[in-house]
């Protein structure tokens, strides 16, 4: 059985209004995930109500400041901090701001750069 899914592109300026609408309609936040596509970042905000799975998508440039939705969905802080630590995106107004210390990485913002494979020399 295949689940119907909906992806709705929205402008960054209208994100908070759209999320508020979902909150008022009783949707729960499933996840926030980020994907690097070329020089931009696609951010998916996933919601569900009565097994209806809907996504809001904003596409932003690397230096864009993104408004936090943790005012409406308090638990969003975990995804927003993750997005900051792995992709380097700036999120403004998080309910809990770890200031880059939620995920400890050896290189800064590892998911914001192309993948590299290094081969260690055998002893």
């Amino acid at each position: 059985m295949i689940e119907e899914q909906e992806i709705m592109p929205v402008d960054l300026g209208k994100l908070i209004g759209q999320v508020e609408e979902f909150r008022n309609q009783g949707y729960r936040l499933v996840q926030i995930g980020c994907t690097k596509v070329g020089d931009t970042f696609e951010i998916n905000y996933s919601f569900e109500k009565d097994y209806k799975f809907r996504n809001l998508r904003v596409t932003v440039a690397p230096d864009t400041e993104i408004p936090s939705i943790s005012g409406m969905y308090w638990g969003a802080f975990i995804y927003e901090n993750e997005m900051h630590d792995l992709f380097g995106l700036q999120v403004k107004g998080m309910s809990v701001d770890f200031k880059g210390n939620l995920i400890r990485t050896t290189v800064k913002y590892p998911f914001g750069m192309p993948a590299t494979v290094s081969k260690e020399e055998k002893p």
């Binding site: 899914q5 992806i7 097994y51 308090w74 210390n101």
Partner: protein, 359 residues
């Protein structure tokens, strides 16, 4: 107002199998606030999807977790299959369901042992892990692996289970069910355990829903969300109802897991009874071009594997949202107002899997 102090809890603690840190803000013995911190063992292997063939990535997806590894592989495969419009043979869907429910039994028994150990009930701990061995034996006999099964692939499964073996499994489930009954009677009836769990770590239904609690953590507060109801794999052809409890405390979350073990036994029996004959896989041709949010109900709750391909053998993105990650904000809420001595039990009541969260 009493003086506030901060007590660090973890990342190394006897009750924690994996590292998570909490700064507990206390007034006397009461927790006023809990500030979580993870990332001690973050692997970042989602990034490897850019350098691994999408077929081979199944092995990595499975290694997200050492408990519900099969379900990670299956959820990833479901995503790719949806993107590539692959119709998986029905027998493979039933086999996936059977292994998924065995994973749930494995996970809940492992959790039961660890939780019993957390409140000092060593006998229950050993009993739970003894029964868990029976489940691991079935995994070994049917897939070749006790922890990492490697039996799921894009387009179906790698191994079939013979009719004789399925009959044997169905028979042996009777023994497992009897043992689980003994174990859960102790868990839910013993007065000392009740004393440790009842009215401890309360999460209201409203908070559970809006903070994103999933799995037994949400269902223990009466939120009847169970992704199996969407009908993935063969669940659409089996009868079951999500197990819920209304209490919202640690006891209710434990009771949900206890009852879910019986539901898992029932689902396996139904699947064994209804499994059709036929092929177990289809040939996969082409490359994934598109995206999908694949979801399943892991033992700890809703799991999301987002996959996005661009028509090459390497995916653009694999994003894994594990249930433990989304259960951290509800955990923070549960800890507010509890006694310091109850913190370990409350943490165990959400059955955290940091390995999953640190994928």
């Amino acid at each position: 107002m009493s003086r506030q102090i901060i007590v660090p809890f973890g990342p190394q603690h006897p009750v924690l199998p994996e590292p998570i840190h909490l700064d507990l803000v206390l007034e006397d013995e009461k927790v006023i606030e809990a500030i979580p911190s993870i990332g001690y063992v973050h692997r970042g292997f989602e990034k490897l999807v850019e350098k691994r063939d999408f077929n081979n990535y199944v092995y990595l997806a499975e290694r997200t977790c050492g408990i519900c590894s099969f379900m990670h592989g299956m959820t990833y495969c479901q995503g790719i299959e949806q993107v590539m419009n692959i119709e998986v043979p029905e027998r493979a869907l039933f086999l996936r369901t059977i292994w998924s429910e065995y994973s749930r039994l494995h996970s809940h028994l492992l959790w039961l042992g660890l939780t019993a150990d957390a409140f000092g009930f060593e006998n229950l701990f050993m009993g739970a892990w003894k029964t868990r061995e029976r489940i691991l034996d079935v995994f070994e006999q049917t897939t070749g692996g006790r922890v990492i099964q490697g039996s799921c692939k894009v387009g179906g499964v790698r191994r079939d289970i013979s009719r004789e073996k399925l009959a044997e499994m169905s028979h042996d489930l009777g023994v497992v069910q009897d043992e689980i009954e003994d174990l859960t009677n102790v868990l839910l009836m013993d007065s000392s355990i009740k004393h440790r769990l009842k009215n401890v770590g309360i999460l209201s239904k409203n908070d559970a829903y809006h903070l994103g609690a999933v799995g037994p953590t949400g269902r223990g507060s009466g939120v009847d969300i169970d992704i199996r109801k969407t009908g993935y794999a063969a669940y659409g052809k089996l009868k079951f109802e999500p197990v819920t409890e209304a209490g919202g405390d640690s006891y209710a979350r434990c009771a949900v897991r206890a009852r879910e073990m019986f539901a898992a036994v029932d689902l396996i029996r139904q699947a064994i009874e209804k499994i059709p004959e036929g092929p177990i896989d289809v040939k996969v041709t082409g490359m994934p071009n598109g995206e999908y949010f694949s979801r399943c109900e892991q033992p700890r709750g809703e799991l999301v594997h987002y996959v996005k391909g661009n028509g090459t053998k390497f995916l653009v993105r694999s994003r894994i949202r594990t249930p433990t990650l989304t259960n951290i904000p509800p955990l923070v809420k549960m800890l507010q107002g509890c006694e310091l001595a109850d913190v370990p039990v409350i943490i165990m009541s959400i059955d955290p899997c940091i390995g999953c969260a640190e994928r």
